[in-house]
Every structure is written in structure tokens, then in C-alpha cells.
């Protein structure tokens, strides 16, 4: 009998653990008039992407949600919370890869019973979570990840992306380079060896070849994500004497690259194009030379329009965290405000809307954010488009300013509905 009782004991212990977990997770909330609207926010809180992306995004969520609950935002978002309903936020770390994230997504929805999920910086996580959102029928707003594959490869009812995808960054960079540096002949690239880095270079290279057929690629460096030491890469870049060095580096890798390349004079020989350079420029003001071309992945950060919403956001964020918000912060704010706009549209002055109504309202919605007007124009109304902005650095007394800022409307830098980015670049960019 004993072995049997042992296995029964083991099963009992485990079942108890699971059920206790369930009990903890589903502890009944005090009966309130209207339950707060609970949002699961998923962003990197550990690892290399936490500092540059994850935490600025989390900070933005805290600032925006707190202000919304206090009704402190300017119009058109002045109403408290979501149409008067308070917002509650649960933060989850995005670390661990898609397998972990799918598990955590299920926990958010099924254990914590959130009303919506806003999150995901990594494209792999976005791709993996999207079908699960469909399965669990839970409204999910992807706020940052870049891959165009999500709505190019699938159709979703419950999944939205409130930021434009990455094609825009590199097409706009190529347009900007051709317009401002017409003599560009030799181009080099250094991008991180993972999907986003590879896609960024592929898009940029393809765009350059369409726009300037005589362009010559001297080298395309693909160091490992998080490599940190770029001595050999910088030598390889310099030996080709390119006019342009394209890089989609971000975070610590971008900082390290700039810190190592600047003293060696790479930026004296070649103009650097940093498609995601905005996250690094405040800290590296001394190292980024005049003439560097910098993007903020849309009209975010320094390129955000001069309107009341942006004025409020910059001030509130800077006051609290003593650093200005960067583009992931803007994109987080954009996602929350998109949800708010949809919620309030669905509510239309009536009772709290159900999820289907919010979804119907969000499809194809146009709403205001600190980055200006956002249209849910692609992916059957699930994928946002917005303008792209690039500018050139001019250092004025140790402070970075931008000259020659150019704005590209969405239709110039993003493919229309139903056309894949890669095909569109090859066939239609020239026009």
C-alpha cells in the first residue's frame, strides 16, 4: 500500500498547491459599484531591454494611468479614467521569451482576469501572443513591437497594434538620406543579429537600391545582440569609407557603439543614421556629432508635435522621472489613450461597454495621442499608421538640437492594406 499512498500524497500536495494558487489568484474583490478596468501591462523589467525600452514604457503607463484616474489630462482625454471608470494596472516582466510570455499572458487573462492587455516590445512575443489572444478572446493592444508580419500573415479580431510597424523607420530613413545627401554612393550597415536588426537592414538596403540604383554596399555587419564590444566591426566599417552607416541599434548596444566609434573618428568619415537613436541621444549628447541622422520610430520624443497633450505628457513624465520620455514611453501612452478613446466611443455616454463594443469602436479609429493623430488604418483597422520623422543633429552648447527635420506622411512610408512590405518597397517606393 505504501507506494500507492506516496503517489497519492504527491498528487494531493500538487493539487492543493494548484488550487491554493487559484484561490490566491481569484480572491474575491470587494463588491464595488463599478469594478476598475484592469489592464495587464507587459514590458521588459529585467535584462538589456529594460533600461532603454521597458522601464520608460512602464513609467509612461504609471504617469498616464495615474493622471487619467485623477482626470488631469488635457482634452480630448480629460474624462476621468476610461469614461469615468477607474483603471487598475498589473505589471508583468516581458523577459523569458515567447514560451514564458504565452504562459504569463494566460495567467493575466485567466488567473488575474484582466480586462485588456497592453504590451510587448519583442516581435517574437507579439507573434506568439496574438493567436492566444484570439483563443482566449481578450482585447490585446501591442504597443511597440516592430515586425510587419503580425497583420501581414494573420487576421485578428482581438489584437491591435497602436504603433506603426518597422518598415516605416527604414523606408523613411532611406528617403531622408536620398533627399538630404544626394551624393551618397557608398553605404554600410551595422545591425544586431536578430529578426528586427536583420529586417531593418533588409528594408533599408532594398529601399536604397530602389531609390539610388547605383548605390554600393561596402559591408553589412551583424554583431550578436548585446555583444557590447565593436572594435573589429568599427574597423571593418571604416575600411570601406562609406558615406552612410545605417544602424538600427538600440539601448546598451547603441550606447557602446557610439562610445567606441566616436573616439576612433568613424563619424568624421561617415554620416551615421540611427533609426532608433532617440533613446540614446540625451545621455550621449557629448558623443553624437553634428550631422548624425536620428529617428524616433515615428513622431515621438523630440519629434512629437507641439500640442497640449504632448506638452502635458513631457512635463508630467519629466517631473516624475527627471528624464524626458523616449519613444517607448510615447508608444505606451499612445496605446493607453487609444484604448481610452475606443472605450469612450463605445460607451457613448451610456453604461460600461462590453469588450465587443470596445473592439468595434477601436477598429479603424482615429485618436489623439502625444505623438499627434493616430489612425488604425491597416490590418482591417487593427494596425495603426502614423507619420515618420527624421532630423539631423546639431549640437548647440552641449545640447542636442535638430535641423532639417522632415516629416513623411504614413502613405509615403507604409504599404497600403493587403500589400506586404517587402513587395511594396520593390514595386512602389520609387513613385
Amino acid at each position: 500500500m505504501r507506494p500507492w499512498s506516496r503517489s497519492l500524497a504527491a498528487t494531493a500536495v500538487l493539487s492543493t498547491l494548484l488550487l491554493a494558487g487559484a484561490a490566491v489568484a481569484q480572491a474575491p474583490a470587494p463588491a464595488a459599484e463599478v469594478k476598475p478596468f484592469k489592464i495587464g501591462v507587459v514590458t521588459f523589467l529585467s535584462g538589456g531591454a529594460a533600461g532603454p525600452f521597458g522601464v520608460p514604457a512602464r513609467n509612461a503607463a504609471e504617469v498616464v494611468v495615474e493622471a487619467l484616474n485623477g482626470g488631469k489630462l488635457p482634452a480630448p482625454h480629460a474624462a476621468k479614467g476610461l469614461g469615468g471608470r477607474a483603471i487598475e494596472v498589473v505589471f508583468i516582466d516581458e523577459a523569458g521569451g515567447p514560451t514564458t510570455q504565452v504562459a504569463e499572458y494566460r495567467n493575466l487573462v485567466q488567473r488575474q482576469n484582466v480586462d485588456a492587455v497592453i504590451g510587448y516590445i519583442s516581435s517574437g512575443d507579439c507573434l506568439a501572443v496574438a493567436p492566444v489572444a484570439e483563443e482566449l478572446k481578450k482585447l490585446t493592444l501591442l504597443f511597440d513591437c516592430g515586425t510587419p508580419r503580425i497583420f501581414e500573415e494573420g487576421t485578428y479580431r482581438y489584437v491591435f497594434r497602436t504603433a506603426p510597424h518597422a518598415t516605416l523607420d527604414n523606408v523613411a530613413a532611406a528617403l531622408y538620406v536620398t533627399e538630404t545627401m544626394p551624393k551618397t554612393r557608398k553605404v554600410a550597415g551595422i545591425n544586431q543579429n536578430y529578426a528586427w536588426g536583420q529586417d531593418s537592414w533588409t528594408d533599408f538596403e532594398a529601399s536604397m537600391k530602389v531609390l539610388r540604383p547605383d548605390v554600393q554596399i561596402t559591408t553589412s555587419q551583424m554583431p550578436k545582440l548585446g555583444a557590447g564590444q565593436y572594435g573589429a566591426e568599427i574597423s571593418a566599417l571604416m575600411s570601406g569609407s562609406p558615406d552612410i552607416v545605417h544602424s538600427s541599434f538600440w539601448g546598451g548596444d547603441l550606447d557602446a557603439f557610439v562610445l567606441q566609434a566616436a573616439p576612433r573618428g568613424l563619424f568624421k568619415k561617415s554620416v551615421a543614421v540611427f533609426t532608433a537613436g532617440e533613446t540614446a541621444m540625451y545621455k550621449l549628447a557629448g558623443q553624437i556629432p553634428d550631422g548624425t541622422i536620428i529617428g524616433a520610430r515615428g513622431a515621438n520624443g523630440v519629434y512629437a508635435p507641439d500640442n497640449a497633450l504632448n506638452g502635458w505628457f513631457r512635463t508630467a513624465y519629466t517631473d516624475r522621472y527627471s528624464l524626458p520620455p523616449v519613444y517607448p514611453s510615447y508608444r505606451m501612452a499612445q496605446a493607453i489613450l487609444g484604448l481610452k478613446a475606443a472605450y469612450e466611443k463605445a460607451q457613448a455616454g451610456g453604461a460600461a461597454p462590453d469588450q465587443d463594443k470596445i473592439i468595434a469602436a477601436l477598429e479603424g479609429l482615429t485618436f489623439e495621442s502625444p505623438s499627434g493623430t493616430v489612425k488604425m488604418a491597416l490590418g482591417k483597422g487593427h494596425q495603426a499608421v502614423s507619420e515618420a520623422v527624421y532630423g539631423t543633429v546639431k549640437n548647440v552648447k552641449g545640447k542636442i538640437t535638430f535641423v532639417n527635420v522632415k516629416r513623411y506622411p504614413a502613405e509615403k512610408v507604409l504599404p497600403p492594406e493587403g500589400v506586404k512590405s517587402a513587395d511594396w518597397i520593390k514595386s512602389s517606393l520609387k513613385k
Binding site: 529594460a50 533600461g51 532603454p52 521597458g54 555583444a227 562610445l259 573618428g265 550621449l284
Partner: protein
Amino acid sequence: MGDLLAVTVDGVLYASWLFIIAAGLTLIYGVMRILNMAHGSLYALGAYAAASLAGAWLRGGHAPMGSYAMLAAAAILVGLVMGPLIERGLLRFCYGKDEVVLVLVTYALFLMLEDAVKLVWGVEAYFVAEPYGLLGSVELGPLSYPVYSGILVLAAVGVGVALLYAVTRTKHGKLLLAVIHDREMSAAMGIDVNRIYLVTFTAGTMLAAIGGALTAPTVSVLPGMGVEVIVLAFAVVVIGGLGSMPGAALGALIVGLVRSAAVHWLPQVELFSIYLVMALVLVFRPRGLFVAAEARKI
């Protein structure tokens, strides 16, 4: 021709950086049989301490040259605090456990240190870029290299020579060799093995911290910066032969040169060039370049 020069210089610079880190790893393994997964975190701690100390020094308006002393001070500080803390506070309870279990102990330590660093310094990047450019650059053909890179090479050579001297010429070093050779016998002969372990782990920690402190001016110091370093240093140490100091030097040189050649001539394979080298070396030298299989008495 110019290419070859660049490949060599870049390779040697990378190798110097790697060697300083790998030397500590192989020292600890050689003496204590612990493959320290937390080595990368100690490297990161060195970088954080260096960025904080040198940063404070520079912000305080002191002579910029003094920042180099601050880098060194940070490394020594981390070594002297963290080494004994970890060895006395944790590792000594684990001696005698299986090698793989010890790897897990240090893996747990690595996880905890990652979060501890975040609790102390937050997730914001720290910079202390000044020391990198302060000494100017030298021109090598079409390329220019900061003089600071030379310091890195000197530091690597210095570490190597110092370790060699300490092990072969000092009394402590000879005791160390005795412990490496036969732990039980050394203990039986009255060598204070615990003391040797404490000194070794502190020295190894200090080497990791030196690596981090010297790297700090060239990077932004961020959470997670130690993760990549661990596997790289493992590869170096395995190629050279675990526990072998000349092996670590040669391993670092091989990895540095192969990587630099890949970057210059075949960027597509850079990502796995190091693991390819490691696999190849192990295929032909199953215990690494500098360690021979020992015959067993039956």
C-alpha cells in the same frame, strides 16, 4: 595587407579584454573546481562600481587623469568586498558537492546578483566615457585606435605576468599548486585549504571586476551586461583547457582573432564562429589545448 593588420589589431584587443575575464574564471575553476556562472555578474559589478566611482570623481571636478585610479580602485573594492562575501557567505557551505551542482549554485547567485544590481543602481544606463578618449589616439594605416585600447592590452599582459609570478614564485602560489594537484593531500599536510580558497575566489572576483571596470568607459553600464560575457569566457576557458592559465591566454587569442577575421571577411558567420571554434578544438583536443587526459592507475 592593411586588412590583415586591422584583423590582427582588432583580434588582439578583443583577446585582451576576454583574457582578463577568462583568467579569473579559469583560476577559480583550477583551484576550486567551480565553474562560476556568476562571473559575469561580478564583471558587471566591477563596471557599475567603476562608473559610479569614476563618475563621481569627474563630477567632483577632480583631475580627469585621476579617473584611471578610480577605475582600478573600483575593481579592487569589488574584489575585496564581494569575493570574501560570496566565498565565506555561500560557497564554503557547498564544497564537496558535485561540480554540476556547484554550477547551479553559482547560477542561482547570478540570478540574485542581477536583481541586486537593479535594486542598487536601477535600470538606467551609467556612463563614464571620459577615460576612453582622454589619452588620444594613434593612427594605424587608415584606422585610428584610442590609446586606451593599449592600456587594455597592457592590463591583460600585466594580469598574465602577475598570475604567473604569483603562482610559480611566491609561497602562496606554490601552496596553490599543491591544492590544485591534490586537495586531500594538501589538507592532510596542513595547508590551510580554506584560506587558499578564500584568496583564490577573491582574486578571481577581482579579475572579473577589473575586466568590468576597464570596459566601463567603452559601454553603457546596464542590467544584463554580464550575461553575454559568461558564455564567451566559458568558450575561451574550454578551448584553452579548464584551469589552465596559458590555455586561457591562447584561447582568448584564438577567439579574438577568429572573431575579428569573421567580422572583416565573413560577417555572416560571426554569430557562431566562436562556438564553431570551440566545437572544433574539442573534437581534436577533447580537454582543450592545454590539458592532457590523465592515465588512471588500476
